[in-house]
């Protein structure tokens, strides 16, 4: 396995930090989701299975 492949994998993992930062920012938000927020979250969940990386992999 090439070093480039390993480095790419490590770097790809680092992108998950963006997720954490986003959530750290969201902690400032308080209150329950409004109707629009709930619909957006439900739609996001419903659309997950359309993504190729959510399909079963052998």
């Amino acid at each position: 396995m090439g070093a480039d492949l390993i480095i790419a994998a490590i770097n790809a993992g680092i992108t998950l930090i963006d997720l954490a930062m986003k959530w750290a920012a969201d902690l400032k938000q308080s209150g329950e989701l409004d109707e629009a927020g709930e619909k957006a979250l439900d739609a996001k969940i419903a659309n997950l299975s359309d993504k190729p990386w959510w399909k079963p992999q052998t």
Partner: protein, 133 residues
């Protein structure tokens, strides 16, 4: 820090979300449930995309990551939908039974996020080790 630790950050944010305070009001049970659900959506999605895009490298150092990714692929959406259903039920009727059901559903999501953090730790550490050799 040259190589950041995504798994540690995810675990930290998961804990922060679980302990979120509600300075602006609202039911902390609902707020934590909604935040945890949204966090889990992004964590599951990012983890599966990461595993999908780097499968060869990850599978060579930790086949268990692929196995857990497929477990999330098979169940993750159902866990999220259950959490949403339980959140809705609790919002409509905030009794102890609905609260218990919601707590269980959210615990499932938190456990999955924690597992992903562990697999990310294993995978990243193994990749770094393989890179050194």
């Amino acid at each position: 820090m040259k190589h950041k630790q995504p798994f540690a950050v995810i675990a930290l944010t998961a804990m922060l979300c679980a302990c979120a305070v509600t300075p602006g009001g609202g039911d902390p049970v609902v707020i934590n449930a909604e935040k945890t659900t949204a966090l889990a959506v992004d964590t599951f999605d990012s983890f599966l995309q990461y595993e999908y895009n780097n499968r060869a490298a990850l599978e060579s150092v930790s086949p268990a990551i692929h196995e857990y990714a497929n477990y999330v692929r098979a169940n993750g959406q159902k866990w999220l939908q259950t959490a949403r259903s339980m959140t809705q039920a609790y919002k409509h009727n905030r009794d102890e039974n609905n609260k218990a059901n919601l707590t269980t559903a959210i615990s499932t999501l938190q456990e999955a996020v924690n597992q992903i953090s562990k697999y990310m730790a294993t995978g990243t550490a193994s990749l770094k080790k393989a890179k050194r050799h």
